[in-house]
């Protein structure tokens, strides 16, 4: 297969998607989305988390099958049922995370994706081809370098080269700059724009960074809750137009009744907190906040800006590298004794992995907080399984957990019921601090309403609630104060009464710009 020398001769296809609808159970992820991408255009796909950007692209690349609607290539209706079909049609995707083999060389990584690689590789012939291919490219990489020696920017370039080598003329870049420095990002996006302007490729750029969209894209499609909320030429749109398309113009959803104004004593103080992610890269940088009794503080932000690491640090699952966490005026070191004394409760995202033991029953998972306290613990040492079970039955009824019984393994429950189980455990007695992350992710409307009501109830009872969510509507509905987190820092704060949607969206979309 030798398509590289044809780059420039074969024009990218015109890609048209019309009325694409995709449902997952009761959830409509895409609702009659249409998009048209002319050969040689650089098209940005903009939207919040969960707006449907990835789903749309996956329908195009054959990962998902749309329930309704069509994909047209150069005006012909085309069935794309697999990534292989997509590759044959010249459609390629560059993922957010690298798909290179670190121990192999650039040359080896380039050819390993070929569909019909022979059993014995004629390296001399291949290298000649590869060199000719490289010479034709706007950016070059030494064929013999090992992947492990490449910088993140060079790896991203190689991912793009690989797609071009495999014959893709239509490239989807999924948030390609999230792992790059701003300089690398500018360089790569600039090169992609040049290739597009020369008519050699078309590009879809998935992004939430307005600056990138403004600087490099010709056209933009904005998605909001699975629908196209705006489409047009970037040159004709202002930044606030795009923000408005992203976050919508709705008035705030009606929130639950609130009893107090919410400004009691300070329960939680975070000062200058710094946390590294798994790779040792700073994820939370110099974060400070205060949380008072009887208020819900919402932290908005695009996912991947340090929220998960921040919650893990508060949960005792990750250590801070600097800064302090102070609970009720005392430095907090996350021991069981302190958690109990300060009545700190936690509902993290993906609770089955972060706050439950899969192999254990619902009753056992409900006992995680107080199995060493009476009545479950007898004499401080013995586990009273009957008492554990009786308490579980009570909590299951009070929080309406749908389960086969207290002895059913927690894994057999649906997502909403796992959420209810954890909430039942955390809110079974008086709480002072409640930390909640994406509590309603993937739940149906009824479960969402119930869980939000319980959070507001806790606030009304004087709990200090920290709500970290990627769902801006949820933040706006529940919070008394709204903070925006970006690149590991709190970049914006506003009381709920003065909240301006556009302003929040702008701070979420781009830090310090």
């Amino acid at each position: 297969m030798n398509m590289m020398s044809e780059l420039g001769m074969i024009a990218p296809p015109r890609v048209t998607m019309t009325g694409v609808t995709k449902r997952f159970g009761a959830l409509t992820a895409l609702d009659a989305v249409s998009i048209d991408i002319a050969p040689g255009s650089f098209h940005a796909l903009l939207g919040e988390n969960g707006a449907g950007k990835s789903t749309l692209v996956k329908c195009l690349m054959g990962t998902y099958r749309a329930d309704e609607g069509q994909v047209l290539l150069d005006g012909r209706e085309t069935q794309i049922n697999s990534t292989r079909d997509a590759q044959k049609a010249g459609l390629g995707m560059v993922y957010q995370h690298f798909t290179l083999v670190p121990s192999m060389s650039v040359a080896e990584n380039l050819i390993l994706g070929e569909a019909d690689l022979p059993a014995v590789i004629d390296w001399r012939a291949r290298r000649k081809l590869l060199r000719a291919f490289m010479a034709d490219m706007p950016f070059q990489l030494d064929l013999d370098r090992a992947i492990s020696n490449l910088s993140a920017g060079e790896k991203q370039k190689l991912e793009i080269l690989k797609q071009l080598y495999l014959g893709s003329r239509f490239l989807v870049l999924d948030e390609p700059t999230s792992v790059l420095t701003p300089d690398e990002a500018d360089q790569i996006l600039g090169l992609m724009r040049d290739l597009a302007q020369a008519g050699r490729i078309s590009v879809i750029l998935i992004s939430h960074k307005l600056r990138e969209v403004e600087s490099y894209a010709d056209e933009v499609t904005v998605l909001r809750q699975g629908r196209v909320s705006g489409q047009g030429r970037v040159a004709d749109l202002t930044r606030s137009d795009m923000v408005q398309m992203m976050v919508g113009e709705d008035t705030f959803a009606k929130s639950e009744a609130r009893s107090t104004s919410g400004s009691g004593s300070t329960h939680l103080t975070v000062r200058g907190l710094c946390v590294d992610d798994d790779k040792g890269v700073a994820a939370v940088r110099d974060l400070s906040l205060e949380l008072r009794s009887g208020e819900i503080v919402g932290i908005a932000g695009v996912s991947g800006n340090g929220q998960t690491e921040f919650v893990e640090t508060l949960a005792g699952q990750r250590n801070e590298t600097a800064g302090e966490i102070i609970v009720d005026g005392v430095p907090y070191s996350k021991t069981r004794k302190e958690i109990r004394a300060a009545r700190i409760k936690l509902l993290p995202e993906a609770p089955l992995d972060n706050a439950c033991v899969r192999g254990m029953s619902v009753a056992q998972n409900l006992a995680l907080r107080d199995f060493d306290q009476p009545p479950v613990a007898k004499g401080g040492v013995w586990l009273d399984k009957a008492a554990m079970r009786a308490r579980a039955v009570d909590l299951i009824t009070r929080f309406r957990v749908k389960t086969q019984g207290p002895d059913a393994p927690i894994e057999t429950l649906s997502g909403g019921n796992v959420q209810r189980t954890v909430l039942a455990r955390e809110l079974s007695d008086k709480s002072n601090i409640l930390i909640v992350q994406n509590p309603c992710f993937g739940l149906d409307l009824k479960a969402v309403a119930e869980i939000r009501r319980r959070i507001v109830d806790a606030r009304n009872d004087g709990t200090a609630v920290l709500l970290i969510s990627e769902d801006l509507d949820e933040i706006l509905e529940l919070s008394d104060r709204i903070l925006v987190m970006s690149e590991g820092q709190i970049v914006f704060e506003t009381p709920r009464e003065d909240a301006d949607l556009q302003e929040i969206g702008r701070h979420m979309a781009q830090h310090g710009d």
């Binding site: 013995w382 389960t403 429950l413």
Partner: protein, 353 residues
């Protein structure tokens, strides 16, 4: 007993029985290839392990250390660690027993035996707890470190018994000094099996109660099931890991103590006969359940006991019983993949909408 617990037990019984049958078939093929009738071999296996009082006694004598070394893998495994250091902990325990025993020459029997057993248990416990500490505070993989600690323990013992504590009177066998004859532990009443068997059974039962009936055991199960949940609950993870490692290592050290006080009377290469490694197999067969270890150790003890007879009767190579143990280990490890996949043990009724 809850429905799930019963189903899980039945599942383990069924899978282990199947693994045992498959192993026997494979072993049959092996002896057929060597030119023997597999049915004769099975019969001799039975004869050598459970058929007569003398073979049962031999089986139980082999089972005693296996119960204790199995705990060395099973208890840390409940906290999520894969410890394979039973062999080293047994050797360290045996050497400590000799040292204390020699010092206690002239002590009353009960005092002497108690102190020797404690010395063996503490030495073995600290040995494995060291590996636990390396893991928690230095990020060293506990499987690798305990494997290497086995070699270190054995090397240290050889160093001691060939020099500093060598009994130069014993010419035919390189060994350490002997413990005083009056501190040697004898046989149980009624059967000709040493007291190590009773200690092994009682230790298994005590640890069963600790792991299954106490809040400590529940906390360990949470840790072993999901470390992130244990962190969220604020459990003292480092302390729990160290305690589990110490308990497991102490059990294996106790095995070494009884090999010295009840079987050999001194430390020598006779301590390094693979009880530690066979214990890993027993732990896996028992699904890390200390009560089940008692039964599984007796079955494995039977395999070991019949080895001599098997080799004499059929003129089989010395390694034949090790081939059998190895086959059983591989089949048991492979059969672990079957847990949770057999529909009859996973009633669809558990699933809710």
């Amino acid at each position: 007993m809850t429905g799930t617990g019963f189903m899980n037990t039945m599942e383990a019984v069924a899978i282990n029985a199947a693994a045992f049958v498959i192993t026997m078939v494979l072993f049959g093929l092996y002896v057929t290839w060597l030119g023997h009738n597999p049915l004769d071999v099975y019969y001799v296996l039975w004869l050598g392990s459970f058929a007569r009082q003398i073979s049962i006694e031999s089986t139980l004598t082999n089972a005693a250390p296996l119960m204790l070394t199995a705990l060395c893998t099973a208890i840390p495994a409940r906290a999520g660690l894969l410890v394979i250091g039973g062999e080293g902990a047994l050797v360290v325990g045996g050497v400590a027993t000799v040292l204390v025993g020699v010092l206690l020459s002239g002590a009353p029997f009960l005092v002497g035996v108690t102190l020797m057993s404690l010395a063996g248990a503490i030495a073995g416990g600290l040995w494995i707890a060291f590996a636990g500490a390396l893991r928690q505070y230095r990020g060293v993989n506990e499987t690798i470190s305990t494997l290497l600690l086995n070699y270190i323990a054995i090397a240290v013992m050889y160093h001691l018994i060939t020099g500093p504590i060598r009994d130069w009177e014993r010419v035919l066998k390189t060994s350490s000094w002997s413990i005083p004859e009056e501190l040697r532990v004898g046989a149980l009443p009624l059967v000709d099996v040493h007291w190590g068997l009773a200690v092994g059974i009682v230790t298994c039962l005590i640890l069963y109660v600790v792991m299954r009936k106490t809040t400590f055991g529940f906390g360990v199960d949470v840790l072993g099931g999901n470390q992130r949940a244990a962190q969220m609950a604020g459990l003292p993870i480092n302390k729990m890991v160290l305690i589990c490692c110490f308990m497991g290592g102490a059990a294996a050290g106790l095995a070494g103590a009884f090999e010295v006080t009840a079987v050999h009377g001194f430390a020598s290469e006779s301590l390094v006969v693979g009880f530690g490694y066979a214990g890993i197999l027993v732990a896996f067969l028992s699904r890390q359940n200390p009560a089940a270890i008692i039964l599984m150790a007796i079955i494995l003890g039977g395999v070991a006991a019949s080895g001599g007879l098997l080799q004499r009767r059929f003129d089989l190579p010395d390694a034949t019983t090790q081939v059998l143990q190895g086959l059983l280990f591989m089949v048991v490890l492979a059969s672990n993949a079957a847990y949770g996949r057999l529909n009859i043990f996973q009633p669809a009724a558990w699933r809710t909408a």
